[in-house]
Every structure is written in structure tokens, then in C-alpha cells.
């Protein structure tokens, strides 16, 4: 425990590495979906649509899945 704490200076470089990693992830998203070649408003449009669809799916899963799984269990047993 004692030898795994980071000094204040190392914390800065760790945060910088973390932000670089997030930037790298964003670049991967842009490259693999060809958004890298599109204009900023097109990127916004596509990302908004994607996040909208994904968030709707996740929200529906959170709200409805427990009930569905329970009724499925009742049906099986």
C-alpha cells in the first residue's frame, strides 16, 4: 500500500495519458466509421443519432428487462 501511491507530479502525467487515451479512442471511432472524412455537422448528426438510438435501447433495457425476465421465468416454471 505504501509503495503504490503516486506523487503529485506523476498524477499530472497520468491524467495527461488518460486524456490522450480518450482522444485516441475518439480517433478510432472517427476512423472506423469514416466520420473522419465528413464535415463537423455531419459528424454531429451521426453521433447524435447513434447516441440517441443507443441510449433509448439502454434505457428500455433498464426499465423493461427485469419484468420481461421475471415473466419469462414464470412461463418456463
Amino acid at each position: 500500500i505504501l509503495d503504490t501511491y503516486t506523487t503529485g507530479l506523476e498524477m499530472f502525467s497520468n491524467i495527461r495519458r488518460f486524456f490522450k487515451f480518450i482522444h485516441w479512442l475518439y480517433l478510432q471511432y472517427l476512423l472506423n466509421t469514416a466520420l473522419y472524412m465528413l464535415e463537423p455537422w455531419e459528424r454531429l448528426l451521426f453521433s447524435t443519432l447513434l447516441i440517441g438510438i443507443l441510449s433509448t435501447a439502454i434505457y428500455s433495457a433498464f426499465v423493461f428487462l427485469p419484468h420481461h425476465v421475471r415473466s419469462l421465468m414464470q412461463l418456463i416454471s
Binding site: 476512423l31 466509421t33 455531419e42
Partner: protein, 546 residues
């Protein structure tokens, strides 16, 4: 059927087996193909370079398959680009957005449009978005270093403006195989002196007071260099192919051409009016199958025998980096009495112990190749093309070729550059360049392969295509490399298949080991940031580990 000496029993053999798959184990008479294992061996990956096996090492080629995730991501990228293309086209059509492409004014006046009043879908919506990586203007002689003119776009590459600066970059894109693209040196001095002596233009065609002493000298020198009887030179390489194939072939002939042949060959074949078939790239089994089928069935409707059969191949295929299988083709051609037309545009000067091209590389007899064609643009640092062969062939071309009777004759400095580079090539300085090119090629390619990139083609060809697949990764790669001071040529869809976008490195004898190391470090860095190490046959390694 070509007048062949094969007995009829071979013909009936082929007829029976035409519908079944070609099994090399079955008795097909005496086919020229080596057994299955040797053919498979050429596609298998070899870790060590084979120094002792004579033929297996020369044809050591590798074409790794596309990884599945790369193919899926490429299709996904093109699907998304397509969707946004439709959206933008809709916006342009309904006048919400301004039309930036060419608009034909005739349509407004009630005329039938003279040209397509809009560029095609792909050009408008995918090519133009990243147009800044293609067609870059340069501002210096394209030697080992080149000055790329810097340009900036304010409206997403519909228009460019020059900032006034140039970027000094290592040139991995020019076909400068032997390093003869220089502005000072013996070749340049000879070219300048020839302008002082002969002027620039001859103001006429070769056949009407346009042939100068240097044309005759060039043709004789070229014939001596290639060990053939005679040769003829033309002003344009593309025109050499497209205007001379109609001289050699016409209606009633059959031309068998490789599927990856260059556009000039395809144009020449179509223009000649001969029937043509294509065979799978470098696949000798397929070629023999097609040859036998053609000889058996004859011409399409009348079933008469073909007047002649010509096999059209290239020495080095520039998009694949592969080398044609000359020994097997020569065996095939001798057996079926066909003629061989070899386009050595990229291989003359760049391949072979003495720089004489593919014939030198394989140690074959130059009389076996009936028509040798090549260009001066690549290894000789000039412009133009030539055809070489027996004297009767060249005399026939002299009298019948449009490229000879109607094209204006080659200018003096162009020809002097070729003459002096040919003379240098035959001396010790030329040997040094050839060895340097071979050394650079082997070094660069082996390092790329060891790092884990997919590199197509023969390990000895100075053209090294590295596959990048996704369009966005291709553009990022190109821009990042230019930022690091390396100019490369990346090619995408219409020139290559949709999935296989690539970057094509052209290695030159003018590159020093240091320049190649800089380039490799940059490629390694960029190839790690955007993951470009697709190879599953070789382990991915960083350049510093090699």
C-alpha cells in the same frame, strides 16, 4: 486451332474434361505445369530468404487474405459515406445547398447536355471530401527528396489555395527506380547540350523529315542493351501500347491478357478488334485452361481456327508488385505456338542483374519473348516508350503504326537523357545503382513485412503496395506521413478493388539507408497510432525492436 503439331488425342482429352474442374493429378496429356505442391509453395510464406533454391526464390510472392474485421469495417465505412452522400445529394438537388460540381450551362438553354452535368456519385461524395491527398502539385525535380506544394482548403476540398510554401519530403511516390531524375549530373548536362545543338522540337513526325541522328542512335543503343535485333521508340508510353497492339492483332486473332493489366494494354486490345479473354492474375493453370479451350473451340461463331494467339503480360504489375511467371509462360507459349507480348514498363532497368528487365531476372532467352515493350518514364528519368524485337517485327511496326507516322518525334533533350542514362547503366556507375536499388528494395520490404504490415507482391520488386483497407485510415495515413515529411501515393477505389485500398511505395536507388530508416520509423509510428498492422502471418513488431 493454331497450326500445332499436337496429335488429335490431346484435343479429345480436353473436350471431355472441359466441364470438370482442372485436376492436376488427372492425366491431361503432357501439361507443362509443375505438380500442385510447387505451385502452392510459391504462395506459402517463407521466413528466411532462399539463397540456394534458384527458381523458388525468384518467384517468392505473397498475397495475404483480407482480415474479416477489416473487410467489415471497410463496408461499414462505405455504407456510412453512401448514406451521407445521399443526404448531401438530396440537399443539393432541392437547392438547400449550392451545387459545387460542374454544371452544364447547355441544359438551361434547352440543349441536350454536352457532358455529364454532374460528377458521378463517388467522385462528388467520397473522393472530393479527401481530395487534398491526391494529385498534389510538386515544385522540384522528383528525386529522393521532393518539394510538395503546400495547399489549404477552406471549403472541404472543393477549392484549394496555395499558401506559398513548399514541404520538403522524402519521395516514396515517384517511379524513380534508378535515381536518374536529377537536375545536375552527366544526363542533365547532355540533355542541356542537346538543346543547344538541336533545339527543342522537331516540328514534324518521324516519317516526314522528323528523324534525327539521336533517334537512330537511341534505337540502336536500346537494341544492343536488350540483346535484340532492333527496336523503335515512341514519344508516349501509353500510346506505345494502345496504338501498337492494333498493328499486331486484328479481327480473327485471340489475345489472352492478365486480369490486372494496365489500362493502356486494355485499350490497345479493345482497339485492335481482336477477341480477348482474361485469365486470373499470374495463374498459369487458368491460362493453360483458357488456351486449350480457345484452341479447341476456335473463333466464336464460325469455329474456324484463330489466326494467331497473343499472350499479353506485364513484367511488374504496378498495383500488386508481383512479377510475371516468365519461365512458365515461355514453356506454355512454345507448346501452344502463341506469341508473347511483355510490357516491361516498371521492370526495365529496375530488375535483373544488369538491369535488362524480367528476361535478365529469370535468365531466360530474350529471343523467346516475341515483343518486348517498355517505357522510358520510370527507370530512365525521361518520357516515352519503345518496342523491341526482331528486325522484321520492327520493320512491320515502322510502316504500320500510327504512333510512328502521326505522332511528332521525340524531342532532343528527352532522347539525350535516355541515351546518356543507357550509357551510364552499362558502365560501373549503373551497376552501383542497380545494386543499390536491389539492396534498398530488399531492406525496405523485409522491414515492412517484419513489422506486421500486409505487403503484396514479390520480395524483389521495387514497387511495394501496403494494404490499408479503410478509406478513413488511408487518408489519415497519407496526411500524417506528409506531416512527418514523407510523400507517398495512396490509391483507393476506382484504381483498386473496393476493399483493397493501399499505399504504394516506390523505392529508388537514390534513397539512402538513412532516408529509408526515417521513412520506416514514421510508418511504424503512424501504423501504431491508427492500427494498420493487419498481418496474421507475421508478428507485429515495432521498428525499434527490429
Amino acid at each position: 486451332m493454331v497450326a500445332s503439331s499436337s496429335p488429335p488425342v490431346h484435343v479429345t482429352n480436353v473436350h471431355r474434361r472441359l466441364t470438370s474442374e482442372f485436376h492436376p493429378n488427372e492425366k491431361m496429356g503432357d501439361t507443362v505445369l509443375s505438380p500442385v505442391d510447387e505451385n502452392l509453395k510459391q504462395y506459402r510464406f517463407k521466413t528466411e530468404t532462399e539463397n540456394n533454391s534458384d527458381d523458388g526464390g525468384l518467384q517468392d510472392e505473397e498475397f495475404e487474405e483480407t482480415p474479416l474485421y477489416a473487410a467489415i469495417l471497410t463496408y461499414l465505412s462505405y455504407a456510412i459515406l453512401c448514406l451521407f452522400g445521399w443526404l448531401r445529394d438530396f440537399l443539393r438537388q432541392s437547392n438547400i445547398e449550392k451545387k459545387r460540381g460542374a454544371v452544364d450551362p447547355n441544359a438551361a438553354l434547352g440543349f441536350v447536355p454536352l457532358y455529364q452535368s454532374y460528377e458521378s456519385f463517388y467522385t462528388r461524395n467520397m473522393y472530393t471530401r479527401v481530395r487534398d491527398i491526391f494529385n498534389r502539385p510538386i515544385a522540384s525535380v522528383p528525386g529522393a527528396h521532393v518539394e510538395v506544394v503546400e495547399r489549404v482548403s477552406d471549403d472541404y476540398n472543393w477549392t484549394h489555395r496555395f499558401t506559398g510554401k513548399t514541404i520538403n519530403a522524402i519521395n516514396l511516390g515517384s517511379y524513380n527506380y534508378l535515381g536518374f531524375a536529377e537536375k545536375s549530373g552527366p544526363c542533365a548536362t547532355d540533355a542541356i547540350n542537346s538543346i543547344k545543338k538541336f533545339g527543342v522540337s522537331n516540328c514534324n513526325t518521324r516519317t516526314e523529315i522528323g528523324t534525327q541522328r539521336y533517334h537512330v542512335e537511341l534505337e540502336k543503343l536500346l537494341a544492343d542493351f536488350l540483346h535484340v535485333e532492333s527496336s523503335i521508340a515512341f514519344g508516349m508510353g501509353f500510346a506505345t501500347n494502345s496504338l501498337n497492339l492494333p498493328v499486331l492483332a486484328s479481327k480473327g486473332d485471340l489475345i489472352l491478357s492478365d486480369e490486372m493489366n494496365h489500362a493502356s494494354l486494355i485499350l490497345g486490345i479493345r482497339l485492335s478488334g481482336a477477341s480477348y479473354r482474361t485469365y486470373a492474375h499470374n495463374d498459369m493453370k487458368n491460362l493453360e485452361e483458357k488456351l486449350r479451350e480457345a484452341i479447341v473451340h476456335g473463333q466464336p461463331r464460325t469455329n474456324r481456327p484463330w489466326k494467331k494467339i497473343i499472350l499479353v503480360v506485364e513484367g511488374i504489375y504496378s498495383m500488386e508488385g508481383s512479377i510475371c511467371r516468365l519461365p512458365e509462360i515461355i514453356e506454355l507459349k512454345k507448346k501452344y505456338k502463341a506469341y508473347l507480348y511483355m510490357d516491361e514498363a516498371h521492370s526495365i532497368g529496375a530488375i535483373g542483374k544488369n538491369g535488362r528487365g524480367i528476361v535478365d531476372y529469370f535468365g531466360a532467352d530474350v529471343k523467346d519473348v516475341d515483343i518486348l515493350m517498355g517505357t522510358f518514364t520510370k527507370s530512365f528519368g525521361s518520357a516515352g516508350g519503345y518496342i523491341a524485337g526482331s528486325k522484321s517485327l520492327i520493320d512491320h511496326i515502322l510502316t504500320n503504326s500510327h504512333a510512328h507516322t502521326y505522332a511528332s518525334s521525340m524531342a532532343a533533350p528527352v532522347v539525350e537523357q535516355i541515351i546518356s542514362s543507357l550509357r551510364i547503366l552499362q558502365g560501373p556507375e549503373g551497376k552501383k545503382r542497380i545494386y543499390q536499388l536491389a539492396d534498398n528494395t530488399r531492406y525496405f520490404r523485409s522491414k515492412l513485412v517484419d513489422m506486421g504490415f500486409i505487403v503484396y507482391g514479390n520480395k524483389n520488386s521495387p514497387v511495394a503496395p501496403v494494404l490499408l483497407y479503410l478509406p478513413a485510415r488511408v487518408t489519415r495515413f497519407n496526411r500524417e506521413l506528409l506531416r512527418r515529411g514523407i510523400a507517398v501515393v495512396t490509391v483507393g477505389f476506382p484504381a483498386t478493388k473496393l476493399l483493397e485500398a493501399r499505399v504504394r511505395f516506390c523505392i529508388s536507388a537514390a534513397h539512402t539507408r538513412q532516408m529509408l530508416d526515417t521513412a520506416l520509423m514514421a510508418i511504424d509510428e503512424v501504423g501504431t497510432e491508427i492500427p494498420l498492422r493487419y498481418s496474421t502471418r507475421h508478428k507485429s513488431r515495432r521498428f525499434r525492436e527490429l
